[in-house]
């Protein structure tokens, strides 16, 4: 089925973004309103599409729109085409919905910034790119959105780029993403070389004929792309620094939407991964490592945003883990993605609200007892908290529980290992999130003298409330009657195989709840009551390592940056001294030999005569020797 509306989803925000950029300061007065309206209208379009889609029979729910032939060279044909199916509509709603809320929030949050219009232009640009990412009907179209969101992320992280460290953070994010893009590029090349097409549909049709090696390679490259965009191990280091961006951005891009693009990519590429078990295993391993990695970092962070960022990393690790289990996990990955979108965005907005009231202070050691001063923030944040640690019946409980269950059900030793890891992750999650809650909203006041904590304005807390509602209800709504599983099945699980169960669901649920209890318990024991206003320094090596993001930056520096810089220096010197040196040497040797040969020209006529005589003799001897 085709539709002519899809393009507006992308064109409207793109147009609005361009308009705001081109008009410059002239649009300062109304730019934020305009951008918010545009964002709202994309949500409206998305909602209408969703309703229309729901009313259609399962097999004709997907909608396509071909705009024009984008690139056509020989057998390489790529249309600028859009595809809206059950998978992408979920994302469209998430992006435009959360996006709109964040637009609203930002009107107030950014009201004192002289560049608010530019901020909204970036936001709209992000919405457009992200929608293109999920709507593109081929890998190449996806790639455009993929890099587009990377650019938007770069621009927004560096929104206050007059601070050098923020500019650095932006660059770091872009470069890490580019490493991922490298994977995506190669994956597309593999696809074209093997299938002659790059559209999802085209590849899916031919996927059966490809060798497992090729599919594994392609899968691994897609995984690399996902690790870059979704801040998975080993490309996760940029996410913490990305918190340099304004907090709404952290909520939208670096929690709810963009960073989950990797999950989307793997889910979208289910036809590749389902036929490449080794690639799947790699996905699972990466997901597991990251979920623990992020969780551990989260325990050590005093910066509220960085703690949340570490948590995001960890939660996406769960999603990636789920996608690695194939059709059994895709739906749960997406479900967790959606619920996470609500509660994590909500918590980030809460963090923003706290910062708003605390002179942009981000150090939780300088908070304490804020619940009294900003009750709405505390409540909405608290609901998000309950959701993320997986307390039933909040949203996170449903989604995370199913992922842990899927992990255990993967079977064999692997299932036990990954299931246990996921369970362990749940313990740590409960611990560090409780820590955040306690340090921020409970305990003693530790803030600076000039801080006057107060509740945020309506425009800010309203979106938080909406998201909090989502945090409470979305899990149940999505899971009741396996709604999400059935909805997505035509895209990700066409064969409807049933999975054997290793552990009874009730066992897993009990384990998960136990994990939460343990985690919360430890945190309560450790962080209840009075805390110091600065972080203790006499901590164990483990804490120190965790505070340093488990040394990922150091590793990157040691493995890539230092050698890279060294290589650059060496090459610069080589170019100057060796390559150009050879060139100059040729010139110099010509001049040198000229000077040398000039010495033959003594000015003495006898020497000239001698030259003639020698020349004649040599010629004569040569000829006589050769000829006679």
């Amino acid at each position: 089925m085709t539709s002519s509306n899809l393009v507006y989803l992308i064109a409207l925000p793109l147009f609005s973004s361009a308009l705001l950029m081109l008009l410059g300061r002239k649009a300062d007065k109304w730019g934020h309103i305009f951008a918010t309206l545009i964002s709202t209208s994309t949500f409206a379009i998305g909602a209408m599409e969703f309703l229309a889609m729901r009313d259609r029979p399962e097999e004709s729910r997907a909608v396509t729109q071909k705009l024009f032939t984008w690139i056509s060279v020989g057998s390489f044909n790529v249309d600028a085409g859009l595809l809206l199916d059950q998978l992408s509509i979920a994302f469209v709603l998430l992006i435009t919905g959360v996006g709109t809320l964040i637009h609203v929030y930002s009107i107030a949050y950014m009201s004192h910034d002289r560049d608010r219009r530019r901020f909204f232009a970036y936001l709209n640009f992000f919405i457009a790119s992200m929608l293109l990412l999920v709507l593109g009907d081929s890998y190449l179209n996806l790639y455009v959105g993929w890099e587009g969101v990377g650019l938007a992320s770069y621009l927004l992280i560096g929104f206050w780029n007059q601070k050098p460290e923020y500019a650095t953070a932006a660059k770091k994010a872009f470069v890490a993403n580019r490493v991922g893009d490298f994977g995506l590029s190669i994956a597309i090349m593999i696809a074209f070389a093997n299938f002659g097409v790059v559209s999802f549909h085209g590849i899916e049709e031919k996927v059966g004929g490809a060798s497992e090696t090729a599919l594994t390679a392609m899968g691994l490259m897609l995984l690399l792309a996902a690790t870059g965009k979704s801040a998975q191990f080993p490309l996760q280091a940029w996410l913490g620094d990305a918190m340099a961006g304004p907090t709404p951005v952290s909520a939208l891009i670096h929690a709810a939407t963009m960073v989950t693009a990797g999950v989307y990519l793997i889910t979208r590429s289910n036809f590749v991964f389902d036929n490449a078990p080794n690639a799947q295993l790699a996905v699972v391993i990466i997901g597991t490592i990251t979920l623990l990695f992020g969780a551990i970092i989260g325990t050590a962070k005093d910066d509220i945003k960085k703690a949340l960022a570490a948590s995001t990393m960890s939660q996406i690790g769960y999603m990636i883990l789920a996608t690695g289990f194939g059709p059994a996990g895709y739906a749960f990955a997406i479900m967790h993605l959606l619920t996470h979108g609500f509660f994590k965005a909500g918590m980030f907005l809460g963090a923003g609200s706290v910062m708003h009231g605390m002179n942009d202070e981000v150090n939780m050691r300088r908070y304490g007892g804020l619940a009294k001063f900003m009750p709405i923030t505390a409540i909405t944040f608290g609901l998000g908290y309950l959701a993320i640690i997986g307390v039933p019946p909040f949203a996170g409980f449903y989604s995370k529980d199913k992922i842990i269950e899927t992990a255990f059900n993967a079977g064999g030793v692997q299932g036990v290992i990954f299931g246990s890891a996921a369970l362990l992750g749940a313990v740590i999650t409960a611990f560090y999130m409780t820590r955040v809650m306690l340090m921020t909203f409970a305990g003693n006041k530790r803030w600076a003298d000039d801080a006057h904590p107060h509740e945020s304005p309506f425009l800010m807390w309203a979106p938080m409330v909406v998201l909090a509602i989502g945090s409470v209800a979305s899990g149940y709504l999505l899971y009741s009657g396996k709604a999400i599983v059935k909805w997505l099945a035509p895209v990700v699980d066409k064969h409807h195989h049933e999975h054997e169960e290793f552990l009874q669901p009730i066992v897993v649920t009990s384990l998960a709840i136990a994990a939460v209890v343990i985690g919360v318990g430890i945190a309560l024991a450790k962080y209840r009551g009075e805390l110091a206003a600065s972080a203790p320094q006499d901590v164990s090596i483990f804490t120190r390592v965790a505070r340093r993001d488990l040394l990922q930056d150091d590793a990157n520096e040691f493995l890539f940056m230092r050698p890279g810089q060294k290589l650059t220096q060496v090459l610069v010197a080589t170019d100057e001294k060796v390559i150009d040196g050879v060139v100059r040497g040729v010139g110099a040797s010509a001049v040198g030999s000229a000077r040398g040969m000039r010495k033959l020209q003594t000015g003495y006529v006898r020497n000239y005569a001698l030259l003639i005589l020698i020349g004649a003799l040599v010629a004569l001897v040569a000829v006589l020797v050769v000829s006679l």
């Binding site: 000039r598 020209q601 003594t602 003495y604 006529v605 006898r606 005569a609 005589l613």
Partner: protein, 99 residues
């Protein structure tokens, strides 16, 4: 006598002249060495005329003598002029032109 011997003689004379040009400094002597070379060639011509049994070689010898005489005129004019300027007939003194 075998005419080839004249050729050897001619070659020897030519070589003496050629080497003389290289080793002697006085312009006049150098010039005489060149004359020696020319006459060595003349000897060769005449010998070849004998060997080949035609007259052309001998005719050339006369031409050569005339030309050599012309050369003497021109050469001495130049050498005398330069001697007047420099008070020296050494060819090594005439080495201002070298760079």
């Amino acid at each position: 006598m075998n005419p080839t011997n004249y050729l050897y003689l001619s070659a020897i004379l030519f070589s003496i002249g050629a080497v003389g040009v290289v080793v002697r400094r006085n312009a006049i002597v150098v010039f005489m060495c060149i004359e020696l070379m020319l006459n060595a060639a003349n000897l060769a011509f005449v010998t070849f005329a004998k060997m080949n049994g035609n007259l052309e070689g001998q005719v050339i010898a006369f031409f050569t003598m005339v030309v050599a005489a012309c050369e003497v005129v021109v050469g001495l004019a130049i050498i005398v002029t330069i001697f007047r300027s420099r008070r020296s007939a050494s060819v090594d003194d005439a080495s201002l032109l070298s760079r």
